[in-house]
C-alpha cells in the first residue's frame, strides 16, 4: 500500500530582521550581503519561542487539518540542531501537546539541517512495514549564527510537521534515497554556542556535491527527468544555492520558486525543506509531482519523489495558517531588539 503525507503544518516566527540592519551594526555592506545571499529578511524567534514551541505549533496545525485520532500516532521524531535540551527530548513535549502520548515511539534526531527529512524516512519505513498506523516527522530549528559572522545574515527559525500514513494521503512518496559521506563542512561541538564552518568548502564539495548526487540518483531510479516535475524543493542555506543547484540539474526558476522561502525567512536549517514542501503543498493540485532534496552538513542529502493525490481537493488547508499568511504577518526588528531576543546580551548573574 502507498505511503504518503496525510497532513502537514508549518510555523515561522513573525519577527524579521534585514541584512541591511545587521550590516549597519557590523560595518558591513548589508545590501551587498542581501544581494550576494539572496536573502531580504530572516525570521527571528521571540524570547519565548524555541524548537519545542515551533514544533508544537506546526504539529497542532497539522492535526487541525485532518480528523485523525492522535492516539493512532505510533511515532514522533523531531529533527533539529537546536533542541533546547542536550539531554531531555523535545519530542515528548510535542507528543503531549498533540495528545499522542503515551503509546508511541519518540526520539530527537540530529543531522545538521536534514534531521527532519531523516525523520520522514524513518516514519515512512515504520508506516510502510505496518509497524505503526501514523507517524509524525518534524524538522525545526532556531539556528545559531555568531554575532558578526556571515552566518548571522541567514541563520533563522521555523519548522514544519508531517503526518505520514497509508490512509487518505494527500501526497504519495514514490521513492526516497540518501547520499551520505563524511565531509566536515560545518559543525558545532558539545557546549559551543555557535557553529564553525569551512567557508567556501560548504559549497562545491559539500552542498552541491551531495544535493546534486541525491537528486540525480533519485531521478535515475525513478526514470524521470526535470521536465516531469512541477516543483523542486531544495535545501536553501541562502537563496542563491538552490537556484544554482536547480539550474545545474536542469530545472527552471519557475519550478524552484514556490518552494524557495529563504529570501523571505532566511535559513531555517532543519525546517528548510519541510517548510518549502509545506509551501508547495499549500498550492499543489492533484497529479503535481515534486522532487525534494534536503541537505545536512557533515554531510548527506535525502531525496524524495512525491506525487500529489486527488485527496488534496478535500483537504482542509484553511484549518491552519498557510505559509503565505505567515509571510504577510510579520514585524521587523532593529538589531538591539534582535540581540535581546536571541540572548546575545550578557545579563547580570
Amino acid at each position: 500500500m502507498d505511503v504518503g503525507i496525510v497532513s502537514y503544518g508549518a510555523y515561522v516566527p513573525r519577527y524579521r530582521i534585514t541584512p541591511m540592519e545587521i550590516g549597519r551594526v557590523w560595518g558591513q555592506d548589508g545590501k551587498a550581503m542581501s544581494k550576494g545571499l539572496y536573502i531580504n529578511s530572516k525570521s527571528v524567534p521571540s524570547p519565548d519561542e524555541d524548537v519545542v514551541t515551533i514544533s508544537a505549533q506546526a504539529a497542532r496545525g497539522m492535526m487541525r487539518r485532518v480528523q485523525v485520532d492522535p492516539a493512532d500516532i505510533g511515532a514522533l521524531y523531531v529533527g533539529s540542531e537546536s533542541h533546547p535540551y542536550a539531554v531531555k527530548p523535545t519530542g515528548t513535549i510535542v507528543a503531549e501537546a498533540i495528545e499522542a502520548s503515551p503509546e508511541l515511539c519518540v526520539a530527537d534526531l540530529e543531522f545538521a539541517c536534514k534531521a527532519g527529512t531523516a525523520g520522514m524516512q524513518m516514519v515512512m519505513g515504520m508506516v510502510g512495514s505496518g509497524m505503526i498506523r501514523y507517524g509524525v516527522a518534524i524538522g525545526a530549528d532556531t539556528s545559531q549564527g555568531a554575532p558578526g559572522d556571515a552566518l548571522e545574515y541567514s541563520a533563522s527559525a521555523g519548522g514544519a510537521a508531517f503526518l505520514i500514513g497509508r490512509e487518505d494521503i494527500i501526497a504519495r512518496f514514490n521513492g526516497t534515497l540518501s547520499y551520505t559521506t563524511d565531509t566536515p563542512d560545518f559543525w558545532r561541538r558539545e557546549g559551543q554556542p555557535y557553529p564553525s564552518h569551512g567557508g567556501r568548502f560548504t559549497g562545491e564539495p559539500a552542498y552541491f556535491k551531495h544535493v546534486g548526487e541525491a537528486a540525480r540518483r533519485m531521478m535515475e531510479r525513478m526514470g524521470t527527468s526535470p521536465g516531469d516535475y512541477n516543483h523542486i524543493v531544495l535545501h536553501q542555506p541562502n537563496g542563491k544555492f538552490p537556484q544554482r543547484m536547480a539550474s545545474m540539474l536542469g530545472f527552471s526558476d519557475e519550478q524552484v520558486s514556490r518552494g524557495l522561502l529563504t529570501p523571505m525567512v532566511g535559513n531555517t536549517y532543519s525546517g528548510a525543506v519541510p517548510l518549502g514542501l509545506a509551501a508547495v503543498l499549500d498550492v499543489a493540485k492533484p497529479g503535481d509531482r515534486i522532487l525534494a532534496v534536503a541537505y545536512g552538513s557533515g554531510a548527506g542529502s535525502d531525496a524524495f519523489d512525491i506525487t500529489v493525490t486527488d485527496a488534496i481537493k478535500g483537504f482542509d488547508r484553511g484549518a491552519a495558517p498557510t505559509i503565505d499568511a505567515m509571510m504577510e504577518n510579520t514585524r521587523e526588528l532593529d538589531y538591539a531588539t534582535y540581540a535581546k531576543y536571541r540572548g546575545k546580551i550578557l545579563m547580570k548573574g
Binding site: 560595518g27 558591513q28 555592506d29 551587498a32 567557508g199 567556501r200 568548502f201 564539495p205
Partner: protein, 388 residues
Amino acid sequence: MREVAVIGTGVTQFGELWDHSFRQVGIQAGLEAVYDANLSGSEIDAMYIGNMSSGRFIDQHHIGALIADYSGMASHNVPSTRIEAAGASGSLAFRQGVMAVASGMHDVVVVGGAEKMTDVSDDASNFILNSAADQQWESMMGATFASLHAMIAKRYIHEGYATREQIAQVAVKSHLHGALNPKAQFQRQIKLETVLRSPMVAEPLTMFDCSPISDGAAAVVLCPLDKAHEYTDKPVKVLGTGQASDTLALYQRPDICSFGATKVASRMAYDIAGVGPEDIDLVEVHDDYTISELLALEDMGFFPRGEAGRAVESGETEIGGRLPVNTSGGLKARGNPIGATGVAQIVELVTQLRGDADKRQVKGAKTGMAQSIGGTGSTAVITIMGVA
C-alpha cells in the same frame, strides 16, 4: 661561472585545492617540469624546494626529504634542500638552484615551490603569514600583513604618489590578466567599483586589494646553457639575479613608500645581465597587496616615484601596453601559495619568452624580469631572463 638555462616548467592549478595534499601538488608540478624537460630521474643532480610554513600549515617539516621521497629521487639519493624566506621562498630557491648550476657544483637541478594553505582556518592562516613580519615588535603588537601594507598605502596616498583609485586599478588589471590564465585561481574580470566596495580589510585596502589564500605548486628544471639544447629547442636563459635584505620590521625604515631591497637587488641583477629597465619586455612583481605593485615598479626603475599609479591607470601595464605587468594574473588573480609564488613567476617568464602564453602572450617578448618579496620588503629577489 657558467651560464644557466631553464629547460622545463610545471605549474599546478592555483586555488582552493581541497582534494589535493601538499605532496600531491608538489609532485604534480615537479613531474610536469621533468617531462617538459624530457629528463629521466637519474639525470637529476639536486633539488631545491621553496616553502614558507609547511610546519604550521600542515604540521610537516623536513619537506626536502618528503619531496625527494615522493618524487622517487630518494632512491637516487639526490640531495634536496628546503629554502625559506617567507614570500620570497620560491624565488630564493630558484636563485640557489641557479647558483648551484652556475658554480659547476651541479648540472641538472629541479627547483620547486609549494604551499598548502587551506588546511587551516582563515584566521590561523593570517597568524602564520604574520610570522614573516617581526614577531616581537610587529605581529605580537597586533600588526598584520594587511595593516602594514595599509600603512604603506596611506602614506603613499598622503605623499600624493597615487590615488586610492589608481592603487585599486592594480587589482582590476591583475584580474584582466588572470582571466587569460587557465591555471589562475581567479579567472574573472572585475570592475574598479568591485575593489572599492568590497569589505574593508585595513583602510584603505579592501578584500580585492589583497592576494588570496591559495594552494599550489610550481617547478622548473635548470641546466648549463651549453647543454640546454640536448633537452629542449626553446631554452630560456637566466641573464642575471639579485638578492638583498632590509630591516625585518617596517617601522625601522626611513621611508616606507619604497623597498630599498628591491632597488639594490634590481641593480645587482641589471649589472649582471648587462641590461636596464628600458630593455625589459614584461615583468612579474610581488603584488601580495595592490600597493606593493606600485612600489615594485618604481623601485625596479620602470617609473619615477609617483608615476606607477598613473601608468597602471592608463593601461600601460596591461598586455599590449608599454610594459605588461603580471601577465599571469599576479599574486592577486593567479593566486599566492606562498612557497610556490616565486617559482610560478619564473614559469610565467619562461612561458612568455618561449612564446607559449597563448591568449596572454606578450608579442615579441625577448627579456623578462621577476621581483619577489619576503615580508614587507625585508628580502627581495630579482631574476632577469632572456630568450637564449
